[in-house]
Symmetry: C2
Subunit: 169 residues, 2 copies
């Protein structure tokens, strides 16, 4: 089994779980807009729009909506794609690898931060070993993200993904 990325304790947020669904279906849930929207935000938040151009340099765009109806668009750029194994994207670049405008990407300094996200999938006796890691530029960005509830948020989203896959896609 390939070693997964080794996180930097000061700058990265990361978790690993074993989930009892095949990695090929997790890959599809991450890379097909119609399969991503149902699970990507912890309810009662919703993902109301999603655009995916699945190639290095391609766009990964989502619009999340709060329960009050406020929209939060986010645009990133895919960096590395190994089907059924590894998905890497960043909001530090916009599609086509152009550096993103930090003020546009991050909004206010209180809530925004640049990140690179990495999903790693590996076969496991129990189904799939699922690792999610988010790399930040500095400790402040990492702390902001942790305070927003990274692990609970991404963990709940993963629960929703697994539940969707089990219903059949």
């Amino acid at each position: 089994m390939k070693p997964t990325y080794q996180p930097n304790a000061q700058l990265d947020l990361s978790f690993t779980r074993i989930v009892d669904v095949p990695k090929a279906l997790i890959w599809r849930a991450w890379t097909e807009p119609a399969l991503l929207k149902p699970w990507f935000c912890p309810l009662p938040w919703k993902t109301i729009d999603c655009e995916i151009d699945l190639r290095p340099g391609g766009i990964f765009r989502t619009t999340m909506q709060s329960p009050e109806g406020k929209e939060f668009p986010g645009t990133g750029c895919y960096l590395e794609l190994i089907p059924n194994e590894k998905l890497v994207w960043t909001n530090a670049l916009s599609p086509g690898y152009r550096p993103s405008l930090v003020t546009e990407t991050c909004g206010s300094e209180d809530t925004g931060f640049l990140f690179t996200a990495m999903i790693e999938l590996a076969d496991h006796a129990g189904g799939t070993r699922y690792s999610a890691t988010v790399l930040h530029a500095d400790v402040a960005g990492c702390k902001t993200h942790a305070a927003m509830g990274f692990e609970s948020g991404w963990g709940t989203a993963l629960d929703q993904l697994v539940a969707m896959v089990k219903k059949g896609i």
Copy 2:
């Protein structure tokens, strides 16, 4: 012949030249530290150090030195590598795809900017069609780079590269 990248007139700086050396040698001059240092800075500036880990996510680091002896280190991250054809890197990410600290990467706001650089090589009757493009986040960064003499600087460096290759490497 593959189409080259089509620059954005407001945000990119770009030039294309036909040079009478084979693209495989230009590729080597861009990707082997010992072959990059002699030509990478227009003289009398020098490139006194260079580190290359030639894979997506790998480091591209140089230290340039002014005629007065002041050192200017720069660290980037490779994004896309097609041997003898296309080389893309950015300073918006540090090695391993981590978002770079803008203040560290760019120094003062007067002289620094984030960029993604793209070298494209194609066979041509006269040797090689060489295109260099630099993508900026905003018009201000693009203007700063233009005012620093992008085309003259990168053009002179290319002259130095061609002269080195013709002497034999």
